[in-house]
Symmetry: C2
Subunit: 215 residues, 2 copies
């Protein structure tokens, strides 16, 4: 394997695609598929084959020309690259409809993400136990819980109006990564990683396909 | 403006990025910003400047060298390309926590997406009115409502076990585009556009940044 280039130079879009590849590879591994041609993987992921080869080339040489990729090997490598060979602890702030839906979502645990502590400010919610058995803490306990439970990722599912204040507290508590579901642009200092979930970006893809009639 | 190339050749990843550009351009337009340098736009979107220029080149020539892009003009063009100069009607199936959160999400309407009809099978929900005033219909009324209300996009927010059956009904009712929130891979015929929303892909980006310590 040739020496991988410096990791910090890798574009975000490549990382996102690696994550998508890993989802399909995981499904293939579960189906018992051992080898996949790069064209087939590309087609399944909706990405062109040249792009896949380019993305993987950042990290070394994978696959065998004319044969394809070894599913398990490639999956293992991608997981290692993405840092998914460990589990990640998250704090969830905002236990409304969206927060509750996130807690019930099986994919998080499956992919190695765990809600270690959950928070709200609504007196009707604080102190209640979720179906999972988890206690809803008051936001006042955020800093202590982050420390006690080694939380590394903050997930904001509050109304837009509260999101910035919550982000501020997460940052002050030493959190370096935020997944933001609130429909607002967070202002964060340099060095923070923020991912915004905007469902409408996916809808734009659908609208484009419908418009072009090439679905 | 030179002749744009054939639209059907444009990669999905480009369409996704156009959608992301449009979000930032919209925010800029609201702030009254008239011109943005391509480097600045690239930085805001977390995408490299060469990629932005390449993406836009599919559709013609935009911007002025050494100056940047005219915010409103570029936004208008991207919206036209994506088919967002009209509003889109959606049917939502599954009014659990996630479905309820989607209905309350302000971004859909803001971006031109409207839930024209909503469905469930739970007798405790069917016939109830949502806070928005919308009636929850039984799934049995799906086909009629799609016809009556000119629904073009189906949004699946059911449990994973129900998603395929719902997709089947949407397809039979003539729907060509599905936004799927259920954590399962839908099997659909050629010609359908399906977008899966998987929150964990975003988390993988954060995990990578935390792992590399380059946040």
């Amino acid at each position: 394997m040739r020496q991988p280039m410096k990791f910090s130079k890798i574009p975000t879009a490549t990382i996102t695609r690696l994550s998508i590849y890993s989802r399909y590879l995981e499904a293939l591994a579960q189906e018992g598929v051992k080898i996949i041609a790069s064209d087939k993987l590309a087609q399944k992921c909706g990405i062109n084959p040249a792009q896949i080869r380019k993305d993987l080339a950042y990290f070394g040489e994978f696959g065998i020309r004319g044969v394809g990729y070894f599913v398990k090997e490639l999956l293992f490598e991608i997981k290692r690259i993405l840092g998914l060979n460990k589990s990640w602890k998250m704090a969830l702030i905002g236990i409304g409809n969206l927060g509750s839906a996130l807690l019930a979502h099986q994919n998080f645990i499956r992919q190695g993400y765990e809600f270690a502590a959950v928070f709200d400010v609504d007196p009707a919610k604080v102190g209640r136990r979720l179906p999972s058995g988890q206690l809803i803490h008051h936001l006042d306990e955020l800093e202590q819980a982050i420390k006690d439970k080694d939380v590394e990722i903050g997930v904001i599912a509050t109304p837009a109006s509260q999101a910035q204040a919550v982000a501020q507290r997460l940052i002050q508590a030493g959190i370096k990564a935020i997944l933001n579901f609130a429909p607002t642009q967070l202002q964060v200092p340099e060095g923070m990683a923020v991912e915004n979930v905007d469902f409408t970006v996916k809808l734009d893809n659908l609208a484009y396909h419908l418009t072009m009639g090439n679905t």
